[in-house]
Point group: C2
Amino acid sequence: MILRNLTLLAAALAAAAAAAQTPPKKFAQPANMRELIASSKPTDWRALDPERTLYLDLANGRVVIELAPAFAPRHVANIQKLARAHWYDGLAIVRLQDNFVAQWGDPLNSKPEVGEKRLPAEFTRSAVGLPFTRLKDPDTFANEVGFSDGLPVARTAADGEAWATHCYGMVGVGRDKDPATAIGTELYVVIGHSPRQLDRNTAIVGRVVWGIELLSSLPRGTEDLGFYAPEQRVPIQSIRVATDVPAAERLPLEVMRTDVAAFQKLIELRRNRRDAWYKVPAGRIDVCNVPLPVREHAEHQAEKAEHKAR
Amino acid sequence: MILRNLTLLAAALAAAAAAAQTPPKKFAQPANMRELIASSKPTDWRALDPERTLYLDLANGRVVIELAPAFAPRHVANIQKLARAHWYDGLAIVRLQDNFVAQWGDPLNSKPEVGEKRLPAEFTRSAVGLPFTRLKDPDTFANEVGFSDGLPVARTAADGEAWATHCYGMVGVGRDKDPATAIGTELYVVIGHSPRQLDRNTAIVGRVVWGIELLSSLPRGTEDLGFYAPEQRVPIQSIRVATDVPAAERLPLEVMRTDVAAFQKLIELRRNRRDAWYKVPAGRIDVCNVPLPVREHAEHQAEKAEHKAR
């Protein structure tokens, strides 16, 4: 069977991690994401800032979320406060709706009130002053789409409104009908086709940059809207701001900058695939289908290898 | 905590099944998908044709695929032949790449050759003669998008080329670089954000209409491109054409017709959500975010209830 090892996809996000483990190579013209990452410069990357990084620890691993204070400063601050009060610890994933979201919170109403009781909506912000690397491709929902500091974003115009778009892995704040009820005690992560109808209806507070498979592969909830029955709930060990975690226990990640030439090259490589598998290049790309390369620091890799050798 | 039972999403596909179990209600103006389904007429639905229905049976349940001979007649015929030779039985899910595809095949090259050894590409077809309910919303990738007999589709023009689009749940044929190697021995299902770059590069042979959560919640593969290590593979009990399964063991499903007014109403209800949770209606919809309502026959529901009562 010649199809045994067929490679349906040219490049996977996993390639980023793999690339970090091998010596950088130079490619005159990278043919795919793996080669592009291998030939990137250190300045094409930025380390995650521990103060705006959350660790969601589950029994089987860690989900890493990069927070987005540029879009929801008060919500992000409240989430940091809740994490620092250990408010999320011992709560549970309470919902997994297929092709939609994973969601967690306090279903038993067991936790004391910490932090804000109500917050003004932070569903959009002014586009003025927001870094914006525009994607030239047309978008079904917004006038303009692009990237801002690692996030997929949309805006009405350069002097209009801007918001983060609901792509795979984006983290938003659950709420009741009243927008002020969105305070960060209930958070969701997109685990399916981008539900762009949520754009401008919730506060996006960040993006999962590592370990989303720990959420996306959870069993689907059997209750209405994919909520778990109580016995299905998946315990959360803790949610911490990375700053508060001892350095040795942190996961030192870096992500590709979205304002560098390498990222533009990546977009073009994904817009028009150049490997021989593709017969018809798409010629276009969806803002939600541009991957954000993430890898462990090269230094950390070296440390781990040394530790192993001891 | 007022957020305990927040309902992030207005209507879920699960509602379709629920609605089938309750007497139809009439709504002058359905406010959401659930009400629309509850007030739909029997003629808004069509039963799956068992001859173009595949049952993929796993240890923990059944995935139902509606085949699409209008788009890939020779591939569909070969898949039916393979199923009838019990060729897929005992094979395995071999790949689960997060936010991309679940895929199965014969990794050990254990099966005898059955059916076609090569097939001409069926990646697009003529748009002429193809039923097409057009979606008015702009699409990033194609001139025109819409629906044809339950499938999301795109076309260049009414007299141009047409193809099924890679939305969540769509089933395609894996292949090597040579398009003729796509014969149906290796199949994949989209389980993430629509990889529209695959459009016109593979043969779409159908769509999962039931049980996709059995695939989408599988553990992610740890090998390159999300392939499973051998010990991770998930056994396939059998793949059958529904016609070949005793009537009592069939799952009698019906799907909403995509050429009826009720479906147009559904699209509009999803384009501009009318429940109070939404503050800003999207005003647009993505062809890959229009749900296809699926439910068990009302008759079957009644039979099951009677059976239970006995």
